[in-house]
Symmetry: C2
Subunit: 213 residues, 2 copies
Amino acid sequence: MNIIESSTPLLSASAPIRNEPVQARSTARLATLLDSAAAVIDEIGYERLTTAMVAERAGASIGTVYRYFPDRIAVLQSLAARNSERLMGRVAAELVPARHASATDALLAVLDAMTELFRTEPGYRSVRVGDVLDLLPPTTESTANAAMADVVADALVAGYGAADTVEVRLAVGTAVEIADALVARAFARDGRGDAALLAEAARAVRAVVAGRL
Amino acid sequence: MNIIESSTPLLSASAPIRNEPVQARSTARLATLLDSAAAVIDEIGYERLTTAMVAERAGASIGTVYRYFPDRIAVLQSLAARNSERLMGRVAAELVPARHASATDALLAVLDAMTELFRTEPGYRSVRVGDVLDLLPPTTESTANAAMADVVADALVAGYGAADTVEVRLAVGTAVEIADALVARAFARDGRGDAALLAEAARAVRAVVAGRL
DNA sequence: GGAGACGGAGCGGAACTCGATCACGGTGCT
DNA sequence: AGCACCGTGATCGAGTTCCGCTCCGTCTCC
């Protein structure tokens, strides 16, 4: 089992980590802590998550949790960041040039990737992207969905013949936001994802980019 | 200044209130508590809101807060409920029959109502609907947006010649969800609401209901 | 006078700190 | 090469602080 996932940095620089892990064991520790947090959140929701729960489930002490995270909220933000990275990874893999027939089909593949994460990633519905956590003032320049939209737009321009205009980028941004909102709704009450609502999401994505790519 | 708003019940039965206010002064107190909570949330976000802050800003003691609310989360839920009710009120007022030229125009008026609340209601972006709180299992049967969609669909059927079909209700539900998501994004980084994104929201709503009403 | 409303000290538990201790891995000595 | 040593990363958990919440005495309205 590959605890240390590939060779990319586990968490982006923007994620609020107190001490970057140096030794191999601590890299695994950090991942385990996040896994534990995800599992707890999946069961009882992030509002009720306590740092003690995270520590206990990870087989660590409270002190270890606070070695890596400045506070409870940072745990949630880091988990959100990791989830965003995983989504980005899948999306990037999906959007290699010519893998899909059209730019629109590529966008629908992004929607599928989102759906898949809801199904496979524990706690994903609760800590989807950084945006769910309401911290004022905002801790990042742009929202996770906006970053996502940039990546998708770049890929569509590079590999699917989309023009690099503000119009196209606006349309892609809207499509990503819509996909996120509707998929989230499809999973809000149905753990497997309401099929009718997922179909509706695909429909909405098509409708909103129609004639703009 | 009209603290006690009109004569409608201040909070719906679903909102978790400990003691319904009897005397007039306490009705005002309750509203003040919620106003204070909204102000605090507007400044520091609901994650960091403490019951002591609410009490202090309202000029009340902790005990008074807990006289009305069973716990901290109930404060947030009540505020969310009040916000939902205010939106519902505006929407209902907007959707009287024949006020708009078409069902689509009526939907765009709903979008405007949402935008207006973001501008005028402190903390609205943080505690928009009750769904923000991640408590598992879910505390309500359906989401606030879904309830909203029902009201809108009913109005469109009654006053704007829309057919009462699952197709129409699905389309309206999607439109409401999209409107909510995109307006939220327009206000995420721009306190006044990013004009381009708001225009995009209107475009998306049109696109998604095109030919279905 | 009685019920509704209010205040605030105090309790319990959760968030977070901090200094002691352990483990890894590099370094130099034999 | 093998080994003792040592510096730093990593871990632990008791203790402290802070916050959610209770309880009961006091005050206010009808």
